[in-house]
Symmetry: C2
Subunit: 241 residues, 2 copies
């Protein structure tokens, strides 16, 4: 693995990352000032600055004017969770995707739905559907869409393109919240997911906003026996060696 082609600022960034990862630089330790690093690496201050800025935005180091840079305190383990679009997730695994719409209603939200939405919404489209991978039920989806933001949803046909996929392509979002929990399948849910009543479900509640206004609230129930969330994480991409 020759690093000859790597740009200078990435080399510097990787070098410092390695020094932190190896324990040579420990949390709280001071990192040489830009002036010193510029001499050390034989480049301009801007180049050093670019490397250190990247490390800062990754949370690996902290910088303060006059006080200098230091290795950040051990961070909470954090990981980036990619919540795939269901249709893409299923077809990507080589299985046939199909969804069945159980109910569809355009109405004002009831009390429970208003609580889920978290803010006053005049009119929603409420959907209940089951996603299938090949013949096997994959997940049950319960979705509320704010018609003030996505009026087109009333005329959309969600049998081909499920609402999650449709929304992703239709509406940009600015904020999202995920709640992941576990639950026991009720009799009705177990029947729909072709699982034993009383077995475990993985539940994901997702809410999405556009500039402070709620776009959609969705709850997905997965049979625990057939689904888990996997996530890999390397801070700052790849380390050298």
């Amino acid at each position: 693995m020759d690093d000859i082609a790597l740009p200078r600022y990435l080399e510097i960034r990787r070098d410092i990352q390695n020094r932190i990862a190896s324990g040579e630089l420990r949390p709280g330790d001071a990192i040489p000032s830009e002036h010193e690093l510029k001499e050390l690496y034989g480049c301009s201050r801007m180049t050093v600055s670019k490397a250190l800025s990247a490390l800062t935005s990754e949370g690996l180091i902290q910088r303060r004017r006059r006080a200098g840079s230091q290795v950040a305190m051990p961070r909470n383990a954090q990981t980036v969770l990619k919540i795939h679009d269901l249709k893409a997730e299923i077809t990507a695994s080589g299985r046939a995707y199909r969804c069945e719409i159980l109910s569809r209603a355009k109405r004002a939200p009831d009390a429970a739905e208003a609580a889920r939405l978290g803010q006053p919404v005049a009119e929603i489209l409420a959907l209940e559907l089951v996603h299938y991978a090949d013949a096997l039920p994959y997940a049950v989806e319960n979705r509320l869409m704010n018609l003030a933001i996505v009026p087109d949803a009333v005329s959309a046909d969600f049998s081909e393109t499920p609402p999650g996929t449709w929304l992703l392509n239709e509406v940009p979002w600015t904020d999202a919240e995920h709640i992941i929990r576990a639950d026991i399948a009720s009799a009705a849910l177990a029947r729909r997911l072709a699982m034993a009543k009383g077995a475990a479900c993985l539940v994901i509640d997702r809410r999405t906003w556009q500039g402070g206004v709620i776009v959609t609230a969705v709850t997905l129930h997965y049979p625990a026996a057939r689904h888990q969330i996997v996530s890999h994480f390397s801070p700052g991409g790849s380390f050298g060696a």
Copy 2:
């Protein structure tokens, strides 16, 4: 909210973010070239470049030489999951933390443990413990530590500082994997977590590596009734107004 103090490149970045979030710029749309933007905003190309680079690393736009910049295709919803240190998590919520070590063994991994570790490890420290928040069991932890990486673990007392916290402060890591799933509590687990047998558990499997070598593999069982994972996400921080 006056933006007067905002540096130029952040202003530009936010402006383009807003244009994308509002739908004015849709996925696939071309973004003016740096040369055009530099005239538009009346600043140097470097400043424009800094703004666009930030947007690129956030995945909001894509850039190709000669071809220019364009709004990225709708991304999979992704969220940053902070896996808090258990002790910090509990004490932060104002409850008293305590942990009880059920078993502790220094030995070679058995077949199942070797599979969990995913690579040959000569000697491990295997721990089983229960975390309490006030008097209530919070989670059961089952941890394997690679003694080749953390030999000091054998002499550490984990009754005050639990192994997760201890490792976080002791060992830098370069890669992590999380698997989140749901399960039903076995009789033994239910007893330890003071929950009903047959109730749901949220399970987190975490593995951590340092430069390709496994450091630790840990499984945490939470009672579903008392625990869920919450995560908020705004791509690129905050949007303006």
